[in-house]
């Protein structure tokens, strides 16, 4: 098991390096002179541009810049925001918890709604619950989540006035954004769990379990579900990145000062160090979560352990 985790870590490292390289390269991929791009709107003089280049080390060869960037990273230095002149890392650390809470809540919505609907749908295809599940899965995939957020606002905050429209105060302010963000993933989960369960039911080991005399509940809960849940866990891990990023639009709508809205504002303001920092941060969080998911799957399914670390 320890070797398995170590092996997993080992394959994650190069990818992590790749992500830092991508974040680093953002500034250099911008057409034209990076320093000029950063000073956009300010109508900079050539002297100002040169000054900034020297300050940021943009006059050095690319690899030197990357090494310096990496050196900074190791000390927690993600650069300085052009807008607030504060270190990017501080800005991110301030805002990340709110996004984590929102994403976690959305994930919870997805799990609480999606998995039970998927289970009843997969165990009893064609039943009433299966049809409800289908409505959820179709609506969740087709309705854009930011529109759903607006509709929820209209119904529950504007018309019924039962929940607050904006702000981050207390649990009640979390309900609508979490529902709006999580609904689409609930839909994906419903579909996935349902189809996996139906597939598992066709497997031979289910016949074995029934031949032992196991009842339907036992066959479902002890045998089929355990195997069906493995790809579900993997998929959830892969979706976390999208939830984290998707939080941006929801944060904009509900006026939440999270990482997503921070990133969106930074893009609009060409605040490149912030964009770099946010991309890197989300990328790393996403990688770590998937590492955890892989290890979890390794615990549930012993077959996957062998595959990576022989």
């Amino acid at each position: 098991m320890i070797r398995f985790i170590a092996g997993r870590l080992l394959v994650t490292l190069p990818v992590l390096l790749g992500v830092t390289l991508v974040a680093f390269l953002i500034i250099h991929l911008i057409p034209g002179n990076p320093a000029q791009a950063m000073l956009f709107g300010a109508n900079p003089t050539p002297a100002q541009i040169h000054d900034l280049e020297v300050r940021l080390g943009l006059d050095q060869p690319l690899y030197v810049q990357y090494l310096r960037y990496m050196g900074g990273l190791l000390h927690g230095d993600l650069g300085t925001s052009f807008v607030t002149q504060r270190p990017v890392i501080n800005e991110i650390v301030d805002r990340a918890p709110d996004t984590f809470v929102l994403s976690g809540a959305a994930m919870l919505v997805a799990i609480v709604v999606g998995i039970p609907l998927g289970i009843v749908g997969g165990a009893r295809p064609g039943s009433v619950w299966d049809r409800i599940g289908r409505v959820v899965s179709v609506s969740g995939v087709a309705i854009p989540y930011f529109w759903l957020g607006l509709v929820f606002l209209l119904i529950f905050a504007v018309r019924l006035k039962v929940l607050p429209a904006i702000g981050t105060q207390g649990f009640s302010s979390l309900i609508l954004p979490a529902l709006a963000l999580g609904w689409g993933y609930a839909a994906i989960l419903t579909r996935l769990v349902r189809s996996r369960l139906i597939e598992e039911y066709h497997d031979d080991y289910i016949k074995t379990a029934r031949a032992k005399g196991a009842g339907p509940a036992r066959v479902l809960l002890i045998h089929a579900l355990r195997n069906a849940i493995i790809p579900t866990v993997t998929m959830l891990g892969l979706q976390i990145g999208n939830i984290l990023t998707g939080a941006a639009a929801i944060e904009v709508i509900f006026g939440r000062p999270g990482l997503g809205s921070f990133l969106v504002n930074a893009i609009a303001a060409k605040n490149i160090p912030v964009v770099q920092g946010a991309v890197l941060f989300i990328g790393i969080v996403y990688l770590l979560i998937n590492l955890a998911v892989d290890v979890t799957v390794g615990v549930i399914d012993p077959r996957t352990r062998k595959r990576v670390a022989l």
């Binding site: 070797r3 394959v11 031979d204 080991y205 016949k207 032992k212 005399g213 012993p302 077959r303 022989l310």
Partner: protein, 675 residues
């Protein structure tokens, strides 16, 4: 006393547009301690019969009528809750594929303990003790340690033992074994069948042994039921059935299997056509459209079984006469005996090695799988050379090396004295391959005509008209209609697809054809059609064959010379007739002994499973002689020194320190001499 009494059982499966009557009014009995064999080809309803008894039908299936009485209790009338009590406690089941029939994410122990605790009010510790007990009973080494392992850590044979342990956990009265050994190698098959017989006697269970393999059933069933198109067409004690089949289908089926002692000059009995669609079965006798003896009456009237199910019975208006030799020879082709004297050598392989690097663990310690380690062989023009062995012995890899699909790690292959290396390894006009799975070897998006055109187009053979003429000729040669060219591979049956595969391989007129398990994906009656076709094509086109097979009966029918492989090495080479009659290597002897033969007397005379143990890993093969870990004759020297391939009398060679036949010369040779 009867244990199980099935009467007029009819099981139907609802499909989108129609209803299939998979089991159509069958009746039979099983007594305690008795093994009843249920035999038939795929789709005949034998598996549905087993599932109907357990009432484990697919969601679209139902028992339409009839009764299943187990110890005087009608199972068809029980509530689902009561039926659950019966499953596992009174009736248990073992399935075909041990790879998929165990829960992959549950420990073996939990799976057995669950079976115990579902029916017995015992504590976890007691159930665990019982699990250890039954694992011991099925011959699992170190049962206590195994309990905490997962299925994927076990080999196929060991998993099937776990399946049996699971089935026996509550000492059922009836065991239904559905193709329990089909997915296993022949030596493992013998072990499992032996185990089943022993357990039956010890626990005096009734056993319903469902199989397509007449050889399996000959040695292990007391009575046999032959099923065709949802019906039982013949029922008889094992010996009577094999000695004197009365139903033309049974007779044809027996004639279709190549046997160890079939005269190689005889053609196999082939059954033309395919079984009927059970959604719309023909009026009258269901076998009539394929039967040589059918009369007008057979087409209108349905023959009933002649007697009660316990007795000798058959359902036919024109039964074959009693007391008659088993095999009717359809045609006796004067197969030219392999021309005496040294034939011209076509292909020579010397000291072939093939190693595969296994993906490293990230710690740098890469390991290699030695699939083939030093195989040398020669194939003479016009002969059929067969490579046999269990799965994992390297025979398929050797085949891929011979045709040039893989490059050997070391060693040389020469064709007509010309070395095949680099780009010249593939010789389209000289060497071709017939694949095992005909549905995978034909491009699914290409019409058959286009698939056959490809080789000609690639090699720029002739103009368009010449190519079309060639295709028409080949499709006719393999016995398919002209309109086949305009259809896609999925529109054909397995046997027809293999004919197409043969046609494509022969398109460029190769001299050597390597056939990798050419018939193992086919049903017996279709298998014989393809084998006959292969032989007649060999005669008419002067082909040389290298046949790769795990099925020694098939090999016996096709091969002039045989090479037996074990764990990447050739352990014995020689003329087929001599190897079969006088095997020199203990492995060959064990392998031959393990083949179930469709001959009850011969089967019963055999001693218990001739080869114990399982194939060791090719990553880390045993030192010295690789077979020593399973060899009954192994001594100290076998672990130290690797025996070379040495010639013995009659053109045979063997690699053994203690051959069963006297070696003729002391000196060792590396290559096998041409036969």
């Amino acid at each position: 006393m009867t244990l199980l009494e099935v009467r007029d059982l009819r099981t139907q499966l609802r499909r989108r547009r129609d209803v299939v009557t998979a089991v159509d009014g069958i009746s039979f009995d099983i007594a305690p301690g008795e093994t009843v064999g249920l035999v038939g080809e795929s789709g005949c309803g034998k598996t549905m019969t087993g599932s109907s008894i357990m009432r484990l039908l697919p969601p679209n299936g139902r028992i339409a009528s009839g009764s299943v009485r187990l110890a005087e209790r009608d199972l068809t009338g029980l509530t689902e809750r009561d039926m659950r009590q019966v499953r596992g406690r009174d009736v248990a089941m073992v399935f075909q594929d041990p790879m998929t029939s165990l829960n992959p994410t549950m420990t073996i122990g939990r799976q057995i303990i669950e079976a115990v605790r579902l029916h017995r009010d015992v504590s976890k510790q007691e159930a665990r003790a019982r699990a250890i007990e039954v694992l011991g009973l099925v011959g699992m080494p170190q049962p206590e340690q195994r309990l905490d392992g997962h299925p994927h850590q076990l080999s196929g044979g060991m998993r099937q033992r776990v399946m049996i342990a699971l089935a026996l956990a509550c000492e059922p009265k009836l065991l239904i074994a559905d193709e329990p050994t089909t997915a296993l190698d022949v030596t493992i098959q013998a072990q499992i069948l032996e185990l089943l017989r022993e357990l039956r006697d010890r626990l005096s269970m009734g056993v319903l042994l469902i199989t397509h393999d007449l050889g399996v059933i000959a040695g292990h069933a007391d009575r046999i039921l032959v099923m065709y198109a949802g019906r039982i067409v013949e029922s008889a004690p094992t010996r009577d059935l094999f000695a004197n089949p009365r139903h033309p289908y049974t007779e044809a089926l027996l004639g279709a299997i190549p046997r160890m002692h079939t005269d190689r000059k005889d053609e196999l009995r082939a059954i033309p056509g395919l079984p009927p669609d059970l959604a719309d079965p023909p009026v009258g006798c269901r076998f009539a459209p394929r039967c040589t003896f059918a009369s007008a009456r057979c087409g209108t009237e349905d023959p009933a079984l002649t007697a009660t199910p316990r007795d000798r019975a058959f359902a036919c208006f024109h039964p074959r006469p009693a007391q008659r030799p088993v095999l009717t020879i359809v045609s006796r082709e004067a197969a030219a005996e392999a021309a005496a004297g040294p034939a011209e050598i076509l292909l020579e392989a010397s000291d072939l090695h093939k190693e595969y690097a296994l993906p490293g663990s990230g710690w740098g310690r890469g390991r290699t799988l030695k699939a083939v380690s030093g195989v040398s062989l020669t194939v003479a023009a016009g002969e059929t050379f067969a490579l046999v062995g269990e799965s994992g012995c390297g025979k398929s890899t050797t085949g891929r090396l011979l045709v040039g699909l893989d490059e050997p790690t070391a060693g040389t292959i020469t064709l007509d004295g010309e070395r095949l290396v680099g780009r010249r390894r593939v010789r389209p006009r000289d060497i071709q391959l017939v694949f095992q799975d005909p549905s995978a070897s034909l491009d699914p998006r290409m019409k058959v005509g286009a698939s056959l055109m490809e080789p000609l187009a690639v090699q720029r053979v002739g103009d368009r008209r010449a190519r079309e003429a060639r295709i028409a000729e080949m499709i006719d040669q393999v016995g398919l209609p002209k309109n086949a060219l305009e259809r896609y591979p999925h529109e054909f049956s397995g046997g027809q697809r293999q004919r197409i595969g043969l046609a494509r391989a022969l398109m460029l007129g190769p001299r050597l054809v390597v056939a990798d398990e050419p018939v193992s994906a086919l049903d017996v009656s279709v298998q014989s059609q393809v084998l006959n076709l292969m032989r007649s094509l060999q005669r008419s086109m002067g082909l040389t064959y290298v046949v790769i097979s795990h099925d020694l009966s098939v090999v016996r029918y096709l091969a002039d010379r045989i090479g037996v492989m074990y764990l990447g090495k050739l352990v014995e080479v020689g003329p087929a007739s001599r190897v079969y009659e006088r095997p020199a290597h203990p492995y060959t002897a064990g392998l031959l002994e393990a083949i179930p033969e469709p001959d009850p007397d011969a089967e019963r005379a055999k001693k218990a499973a001739p080869l114990g143990g399982e194939l060791p890993s090719a990553i880390d093969p045993p030192s010295g002689c690789r077979f020593r870990t399973r060899c009954p004759l192994a001594q100290e020297i076998c672990a130290i020194e690797e025996p070379p391939l040495r010639p013995i009398a009659g053109g045979q060679s063997t690699a053994c320190h203690f051959p069963l036949q006297e070696p003729c010369a002391a000196e060792a040779v590396t290559g096998a001499s041409a036969g």
